[in-house]
Symmetry: C2
Subunit: 354 residues, 2 copies
Amino acid sequence: MPHQLYAVIMAGGSGTRFWPASRRSRPKQFLAVAGEQSLIAATRDRLAPLIEDDHILVVAAREHADLVREALPGLPPENLLCEPVGRNTLPCVALANAEVRRRDPDAVQVILPADHVIAPAESFRESLAAGAELATCSGALITFGIRPSHPATGYGYIELGPLTGELEHVSAHEVAQFVEKPDQLRAEEFLRSGRFLWNSGIFVWTTAVITAALEASAPATWKALRDARPQDLEQIYPGLQAVSVDVGVMEQASDLRVIPIDYTWSDVGSWGALADLVPSDGDDNRLLGGGSMEAIDAQGNLIYGEAGMLTALIGVRDLVVVRAGDALLVCARNRSEEVRGLVERLNKSAPEHL
Amino acid sequence: MPHQLYAVIMAGGSGTRFWPASRRSRPKQFLAVAGEQSLIAATRDRLAPLIEDDHILVVAAREHADLVREALPGLPPENLLCEPVGRNTLPCVALANAEVRRRDPDAVQVILPADHVIAPAESFRESLAAGAELATCSGALITFGIRPSHPATGYGYIELGPLTGELEHVSAHEVAQFVEKPDQLRAEEFLRSGRFLWNSGIFVWTTAVITAALEASAPATWKALRDARPQDLEQIYPGLQAVSVDVGVMEQASDLRVIPIDYTWSDVGSWGALADLVPSDGDDNRLLGGGSMEAIDAQGNLIYGEAGMLTALIGVRDLVVVRAGDALLVCARNRSEEVRGLVERLNKSAPEHL
């Protein structure tokens, strides 16, 4: 009998980059930014039938527990793990590993963020299944790398090592190195070389292997969380080191494999990135969220509206226009990454709008 | 004793050009588009102390009666004349003339739209006083012409005739002709010639003179309204010819004078025109209406917001952004005259947003 497959959906992001649609009280993963569904619901649906709700754990900020329940009504209550404060992804992985280990120490785990867009879902499930098989037979930590479509400077990269031969039908490589976000010039070199993939933040490993890796690389965090009960987390979490699983586990480990992904993937990092993912009308305008649009000689605009609300455009190009609650954003589409800086400014000048 | 001076404020406009701030239910004259006050309240205040509330008549659409009362709380109730349907300005002038004539057949009347911006108020009162004196001594219909600042194609023009000598201290001309809105080329000729003024739609006349002019040029309308009681208007108005006082009276008359105005005047015909009237912040951005603004590298934008609402701009230039109720307009500033066409489209596609 094959090992049981579990998924851990990491839903702890605070999502300031989609302000004003995303708010402290409702980060991006709980918004339907890229379709009819919230990103977290789409993430869950993408897993079925490979992994069903009873084998899905969601790790989220405690303040967003109701949003998770609303988005995933089929999730068993005990499968929602709440963090009292955010400490990046390593504690999240350790917390989930402790829970999976109690349920099934032989389980294989898929770790994935709640707020990515990936298509087609079937190809993704095939990748995950291949990863699970490889994790089991190799005993390595498996990560997925995205074949770059352009010289992006907003992602970390994974340099490919040699092809490994554990499984004939899975094209997996050793990991030569992880590389931090490059500048434009290096990103162009990476793209040209063909040897670098974007770091997706999606992982597969067996429970035994990640347990050993945590014991080796993050012993304090693992020891604190290994046997913790939910009611203990309030005490424990503030003292944990905030570190990503990439830095705290993957970069410390030696036995790694990377499986390339060459279908549609996006971490939907900005309004501009989102615009690239959504089909447009005949004038290259896109309407998301809700409401309606009327455009006169307007092209290349991304409108995020609200139910019942009309957005009218006259003679404007390449804008991101987001109306949400008490705030309105009008932003040049190629500058939407500056929303993050805007939110920092508002944090000082007008926090009531965050 | 000099003749009593009355003002007739014409507040019947439907104001589609300021959509979505102006709505069918609240046209532009009832909005504070150019300052703290609504345009109609500013119009009234501009008249004092030359003309006080008891001598001010307001003609408005019946459906806007409450808006007039709200904007002008000092207006005596009997000074509000309601039209059951709009029939352009000639019936409005005739209706007001009938009322003034009942009160004081020797009165001199100032006729002015509710939705203009004029400054300084003192200069304007001097012009009106001069017009009243000229109207009394000359027996002519007096109009005011705006010295053009640019070759506008959106206004009718008045060609100046010879200077008249009735009053030494008032520089008034005969009217050579009224000219419809010109094309760009003619507008440039008009500007160069120095002989053409914009038709302001502001008039002064004695009650006897306008009565005679109405009898001569619009006998049916005048006869219908001369002795009408308010309760009769429902029956009468639908049958009246819809025509402007410019076309129906001024262009038919021979004894006319025009007094030039060379201070700030605007009929605030579009969002773009409004932007030219309002002081800007250091980045040439303007915030009107209400709410707050946060701008990163944004210049030349006009924001019309709502109380409690934040508008954030990143990297955008020369936009008009209007958030009002269930609609949002984002428009290139130099194309704001196309709002009128947009409203016509919405009238078919989404009248619920008008």
